[in-house]
Amino acid sequence: MRRIISVLVENAPGALSRVVGLFSQRGYNIESLTVAPTEDETLSRLTLTTLGDDHKIEQITKHLNKLIDVVKLVDLTEGSHIERELMLIKVKASGAQRAEVKRCVDIFRGQIVDVTSTLYTIQITGASDKLDAFLQAVGDASIIEVVRTGVCGISRGEKVLSL
């Protein structure tokens, strides 16, 4: 099962490598990883998506918690949550294709953020499966370049991850 784990780590040198190292060392899988400082500059927040059964996820969270640099973590997928990913994508847009791509962008509520005579650069945000669906809709043949940020997420309602 796919899980989204949010981790608050000390904003210290080497903290990220410890987290990433843990995954490779123990044979866990990282599907995506995003990391940036939080409003408290001593902390970074790291969101990672991984695949595994309950036993594996339990081990992952336990081992993450054991890392001295990890302050707190939560498995967002345990409760209801919001997840977002941002994607920038360059697609071919010439001739009749131009209008078709534009329509597709509108349907997915994306934005065209840069234009040339033959290309659109599109920005689109949403859950990962929405981005996947957009890629499928546009079709491989038109795609020139794709960059995705990886998932970030937050719990719904009153639940917060903070110190």
Binding site: S17, H63, I68
Partner: protein, 570 residues
């Protein structure tokens, strides 16, 4: 500043080896008397010696090495300590700050290389951080589930001209590190109920009981309940080896009675043990009828391989203490009838195939059997020596036949299985206990991995007794080749290339004694241990064909599936 911090931390001994990046630190050592430095002959030995010191005392072992090769040589010893949860602080010199990342002479990314095998690591960025980092390092190494901590110190930050107001912190607080102390009282209650209701109970205790200084509590609990107890390789001595409830070690080379009793038990109390693959054999076949109570300070150890029915995260001494109180207060008593018939069953197993009821090796052979050497050492040392070992057959024979009545007496590399561990570890033990008898049980393979330390023993007058069970082969490798590779001895024999260990010992200024005849064994051992102030290297020629038994059947065997000799199996 660094050495002053070590002094303030109460460090007695530093095991190390100097080099360019550590020279400022070494100069500081030279100019004071409180922190004593032990010069080893290879950095691997520094880590093992500090490890032996830590295991024998419960204190944190300290290592000091230089950058580059000094640091990489220390890696094996750090990994050894990590696998066995031994508290250790390793200080490594680093090239000057402005050279880091430039492939400078003797530069290596120590923090990076050691990352998977340390509990934590620090890179000093500013000299003023040193006292606080040292304090944190010792705190992290010693608390919770102990482990090695690395401090990497760029050379320029130890320059004596670089001075700062010094203050050694009394306490440290890390918001992200709060080791477990007391167990959950509801869970402890549940565990006690389960334990008291057991018909075929087993207590399975590991290195955590030794590390957590909880042996006396374990003993009290075992004797209060009159339940059978087994120790892991790491846990030997946690319950006395000669104690009446002791079934011997369990696991791959555990006793028949311990493994069989585990398999048939209905409630297992696992204390400070981690259900290692060398204990459980095939996990899916592990103890099919047992409810499992698991006490461990590390939550990640619980339900890692075997799912615990009653998990308790906490320090073993505190949890066992609470359990004892509850057992004493409880109106419920163990089912005496069930327990009596369980003991009857266990005694029957013991009688049939136990290694302590009668000798299971060939005592009539002309050749010296390794098992009888260990028995003889046990007799001559009255069971009261500190015994370190290397890795292989001799390690298993020592674990089986030297009955440890006290914790911290058996010092071996259980998790990583590091050959070369024994001699330097024995030096560390001898530094900690100058008057104690320290024995290093080794083989002619392992001893050669750190044999250079015979020189260190000379320098610091460390009269360790080296008992080399010389079978002229890599015995455990050879055993597996006998069992699984039709006796094709791929690279496990030396073809007459072994050194004359007696002369070698003499070359280092020690006493060497060779034993080739069985009838000489006891007298020569007595001679060895009578030489209190000397290092003695006993080169004992043992039967090459001997195998370690019992041995669990693998792959796909359960706890109770064992080979009992070359011809018998359960």
């Amino acid at each position: 500043m660094l050495i002053r911090a070590l002094k303030d931390e109460g460090v007695e001994y530093v095991f190390g080896y100097p080099g360019g990046a550590a020279l400022h630190i070494y100069d500081a050592i030279f100019r004071q008397k409180d922190v004593k430095h032990i010069l080893v002959r290879h950095e691997q030995a520094a880590t093992h010696a500090a490890d032996g010191y830590a295991r024998a005392t419960g204190k944190v072992g300290t290592v000091l090495v230089t950058s580059g090769p000094g640091a990489t040589n220390a890696i094996t010893g750090i990994a050894t300590a990590y696998m066995d949860s031994i508290p250790m602080v390793v200080i490594s010199g680093q090239v000057q700050s402005h050279l880091i990342g430039e492939d400078a002479f003797q530069e290596t990314d120590m923090v990076g290389i050691s990352r998977p095998i340390v509990k934590h690591s620090f890179m000093i960025k500013h000299a003023s951080e040193i006292p606080e980092v040292v304090k944190k390092a010792y705190y992290i190494a010693a608390t919770g589930r102990p482990g090695p901590v690395v401090i990497d110190v760029p050379k320029d930050l130890t320059h004596p001209a670089y001075t700062f107001p010094y203050e050694y912190p009394e306490k440290v607080k890390l918001r992200s590190y709060t080791p477990a102390t007391r167990g959950h009282s509801g869970q402890i209650k549940k565990a006690v109920q389960l334990l008291l209701g057991a018909k075929r109970p087993m207590i399975y205790s590991g290195g955590g009981v030794v590390q957590g200084n909880a042996s006396h509590l374990l003993k009290e609990l075992v004797e209060l309940l009159n339940y059978p107890v087994t120790n892991t390789l790491m846990g030997l001595g946690a319950y006395p080896g000669t104690g009446k409830n002791f079934l011997g070690m369990l696991g791959m080379h555990g006793t028949y009675e311990a493994n069989t009793a585990m398999h048939h038990s209905d409630v297992i109390l696992a204390v400070g043990a981690r259900f290692d693959d060398r204990v459980t054999n095939t996990v899916s076949k592990f103890c099919p009828n047992a409810k499992i109570i698991h006490i461990d300070i590390d939550p990640a150890s619980i339900s890692k391989t075997v799912t615990a029915d009653v998990p308790i995260v906490g320090a073993v001494d505190s949890v066992l203490g609470e359990m004892l109180t509850l057992v004493k207060e409880s109106d419920e008593k163990p089912d005496a009838e069930a327990l009596a018939s369980w003991w009857e069953q266990i005694n029957d197993w013991r009688e049939r195939h136990g290694i302590y009821t009668k000798n299971r090796f060939d005592t009539t052979s002309d050749k010296i059997k390794p098992q009888e050497v260990i028995q003889a050492i046990w007799e001559v040392t009255k069971g009261d020596a500190y015994v370190t070992s290397d890795v292989g057959q001799h390690q298993m024979f020592a674990a089986q036949y030297y009955l440890f009545d006290k914790p911290r007496r058996w010092i071996n590399s259980g998790g990583l299985g590091t050959m070369g561990f024994g001699l330097p570890a024995a030096m560390g033990v001898q530094m900690a206990h100058r008057d104690a008898t320290v024995v290093c049980v080794t083989g002619e393979g392992s001893i050669q991995m750190c044999i250079q330390e015979l020189s260190c023993c000379t320098q610091y007058h460390l009269p360790v007794k080296i008992i080399c069970l010389n079978n002229q082969a890599l015995g455990m490798v050879r055993q597996w080749q006998d069992m699984q590779y039709s006796s094709r001895y791929a690279e496990s024999l030396y073809e007459d290339s072994l050194p004359d260990f007696v002369k070698l010992a003499e070359a280092y200024g020690h006493v060497g004694i060779r034993v080739t005849k069985k009838e000489e064994l006891k007298a020569k051992l007595a001679e060895c241990f009578a030489l209190k102030d000397r290092v003695v290297f006993m080169d004992i020629m043992v039967d090459q064909s001997e195998h370690v038994y019992p041995m669990q059947v693998a792959p796909n065997g359960s706890m109770r599936d064992m080979l009992l000799s070359k011809t018998e199996r359960t």
